[in-house]
Point group: C2
Chain length 310, copies 2
């Protein structure tokens, strides 16, 4: 069956039924009205983040299952909530697709979205389906954070320590493999618990999630402040067996770890007297590695994915 | 200049600078971080609505200025907030575009969005730019409404009166004209003040904005409740000179008014003893017309725009 056989109302009903399995305590009114209603707790700010996944730009059905595409699409948004230290409340989906799209592909996309939605308590609360030349998922995730507690990209100072959760390069390695043979299977873990825990740690200066690669996202934090980083590349946390796997494929491990993108780990700065990486690992529930320091100066180059570039 | 000459960062900076002109009292943190922060007032729920405008589906650059496209794209979302009785807090934009797109077209789209953003106090607070095969604007608008005051599609009863703001068919007439010659110029007025005023009127059962045409949207309200409408087509509020303009183009005025879409007027139901249309016109600050009654039964057919249909 193709999307055009189902029609817009049919598609919406189908997504509505699937989405009804995931509920959220912050949702007053979900799918089916002109808009959804969310209820943050007293003293909370609302966190809003939007991100899109576009066919042949962010994914290809030829080397990735629709379910995996859906999972990654929501993770990208949840990761932004994590980087603000927010708890998820719900998300909306603007789905663009051609009439010829197989309905089972849409089912797969939705199943992937809802898989992550269940895991992270972030129900689908509304959306929009539109005809389009290619498949795209524009997702807006809504969260909540206690007033004044949000982690931002500001607040970085020279002398701050640079830390990162988890390991870097796994998504890039998986993508490189999929380009040669096989399929994209990697789905990152949005660091929601770690982000929430970070809001309670003293001395955190700024926080960002690594979506475009460590170098590019570090640049986002430092450039605005006119600062640079003193990184020790040998100290970057890499996945187990990473160097060997890269060697087998003729890839440069550091290039993937620094510029690969889609790791969705948290990169944050900490005052010199803040807690140790070991203490933070325990508190955040994920490995935390100190990778360098913020210094005065300007950084030189960046890797990482750029849109619209030649 | 093309989008690819500007690059993603260049495009984001350009939009950021333009968006900085519009501020909002509910915005704690706007564009430039992993997510934006909004602060609803105590006792308010957050209203979330998403809608997309896609090139060659919702608009064509051959017969509409980018500015007009941008205006209509935001109005579609603001109208959903209006139909909930919400006040706008801000919106996010997921922009998809090919690298060959002229930057002046993007400038026009953004200028149109911001024109309506200023008029309705709804600043651009974040977004995402992505390469895509065609231009698309997926917008999520955020608003706030006092708890328990939101207007929904529920609450309709047999015997309720059916009322509508403004006039119907103007957008459809403009579109029909543009298909033959000339350009799309019509931009509807999102009924935000009227929606807010309606939350304070006793006896309002349900409310929806007319985006797909009166018949289709009335169906949305009635079908779920298993009810039908007794409409008096001769009593529909039409724009001045509408019948004559339709006749000149060989169009059926009622077909446009019933099925045209994009009027973005509010359609609401009212208990039999609720206030008169005249009283409501004054209270809502816009003409209100009583167009029929809710009756027991099932409606038969619908007109209006359907996506993915053959």
């Amino acid at each position: 069956m193709r999307l055009r056989d189902l029609g817009e109302r049919g598609l919406i009903s189908r997504i509505e039924r699937a989405a009804a399995k995931v509920s959220g305590r912050s949702v007053v009114l979900g799918i089916g009205d002109d808009a959804a209603l969310l209820r943050p707790r007293a003293g909370e700010d609302v966190v809003v983040s939007t991100d899109a996944s576009v066919e042949n730009v962010h994914f290809r059905f030829s080397n990735e299952s629709p379910r995996n595409v859906g999972r990654r699409a929501l993770v990208a948004n949840l990761s932004d909530l994590a980087a603000m230290g927010a708890r998820p409340m719900g998300f909306v989906l603007a789905l663009g697709a051609p009439g010829e799209l197989l309905v089972k592909r849409v089912d797969g996309l939705v199943a992937g979205l809802l898989h992550e939605a269940v895991r992270h308590g972030c129900p689908l609360i509304g959306g929009n389906c539109s005809q389009a030349g290619e498949v795209s998922l524009a997702i807006t995730a809504l969260g909540a954070v206690k007033r004044g507690n949000a982690l931002t990209r500001r607040g970085v100072r020279a002398g701050d320590r640079l830390l990162v959760t988890g390991v870097l390069g796994a998504a890039a390695l998986d993508r490189a493999r999929a380009e040669r043979r096989g399929r994209v299977r990697h789905v990152a873990e949005p660091r929601l618990r770690a982000g929430l825990a970070l809001t309670r740690v003293r001395g955190v200066g700024s926080c960002i999630d690594i979506s475009d690669g460590l170098e590019a996202d570090l640049g986002q934090v430092l450039d605005a402040a006119g600062l640079a980083a003193d990184l020790e590349p040998a100290g970057l946390p890499l996945p187990r067996g990473f160097r060997r796997a890269c060697a087998a494929l003729g890839l440069e491990p550091l290039a993937l770890a620094l510029g690969g993108g889609e790791d969705y780990e948290l990169l944050f700065t900490l005052r010199p007297r803040g807690p140790s990486a070991a203490w933070l690992s325990q508190r955040l529930g994920v490995a935390v590695t100190e990778i360098g320091r913020v210094v005065v100066g300007r950084r030189q180059e960046q890797r990482g994915w750029r849109h619209f570039a030649r």
